[in-house]
Symmetry: C2
Subunit: 219 residues, 2 copies
């Protein structure tokens, strides 16, 4: 397998899922600003929109969109138990993947990760996002994971909520979310994935002359 | 089954899927402005975020998020062939459901359907959305549907693209998208679903003193 990723973006969720499943993959870094791989290959030849993740499977298939890639990994490596296998559990998984993808990732956080987004966009997204964060806060109060046990939906949610530290989303306002992030980031697969990508993220920022965020390396 | 819907919103996709499957359901209208059912019941008691669709299944389950609800209907009524059953086809379906939900619905059109969204947000979303529309345009050129045959992903896409007429998205710029919308809107299930909801949409607008859009009734 080959995973096209940009450090600490939503493709981190796929790396976490691969680590959970004990799978090796070639990780091909895409510079999220130049949209080139580190070898200088234009990433738009792989993914026309320049979006990560793109996964090339061992069967030669090309997969994009986190919800689809994460469900592929869960299905392909069932021993890792990354998704429920009963119908009701699968419905819940798909519900959360959709919610995290549309409401939190695309509707809220993505505007802060977009260098061109005007401030008015960010302010409105932040205001509107509060109800979404509150909704997940209520769900996670008294729960360990989104479903009964760790699933690819958690890999996605912990990735997205992890962006809070570089956005104005004050996660501290939501105690269950804060505790969840701390707990899930301590999970070995997540800690290992973050440890692999934080240095690459800091290097990418340095390449582009962006402010230093090396506090991330300590966290 | 009970479907909580607001006329012509993304819940239209679920009605289309139910019609395709030849299933009866109780359709409970939610006023998208007051967030009450037409009987005056606060919809937030059903869905805390006030988002449609919510489907209550015959087994008493509550389902939200279009991607999850649509896949539930496809799985529950396999004879309607609303989703591929092979792994590769399922991956494509999930990819498109995610793309339509995150990139087109949430990332582009939802800002125009949001009465509070500032103009700067709309302008930026429109600019950014062009590449996404172009991507689907390329995919649909020479194709009848998103996958090899009609699927719940088409029910979702035709619903979302159908909003173009009440937004500044000039669908005419994309010939394959325009032809797709015309073709799929002529499909009996889609035509019947739109015919059921357009009058309700116009009534809701009239209730709230919004400008008349009765040209929709002719389309």
């Amino acid at each position: 397998m080959q995973l096209y990723f940009s450090p600490l973006t939503c493709s981190l969720a796929v790396r976490i899922a691969l680590y959970e499943a004990g799978q090796e993959a070639a990780f091909i870094e895409v510079d999220s600003l130049t949209k080139e791989t580190r070898d200088g290959v234009p990433y738009t030849t792989v993914n026309p929109l320049g979006l990560v993740p793109t996964l090339r499977t061992d069967e030669g298939e090309w997969l994009t969109e986190n919800a689809a890639v994460l469900q592929y990994i869960a299905r392909r490596f069932p021993a890792a138990r990354l998704a429920p296998t009963d119908a009701r559990g699968l419905e819940s998984l798909q519900q959360w993947l959709s919610f995290v993808g549309a409401e939190l990732h695309r509707g809220l956080y993505s505007w802060f990760l977009d260098r061109q987004a005007p401030d008015a966009v960010k302010a409105y997204a932040l205001q509107k996002g509060r109800s979404r964060l509150q909704f997940v806060e209520r769900h996670l109060a008294g729960r360990e994971h989104l479903l009964d046990q760790f699933s690819v939906a958690d890999a996605y949610l912990v990735t997205v909520l992890g962006w809070s530290v570089v956005t104005p989303v004050a996660l501290g306002e939501w105690p269950a979310l804060s505790a969840y992030v701390e707990r899930v980031q301590a999970r070995p697969s997540v800690a290992r994935a973050r440890a692999a990508e934080i240095p690459l993220y800091l290097q990418a920022r340095a390449r582009h002359g962006e402010p230093d965020l090396s506090f991330l390396a300590k966290g």
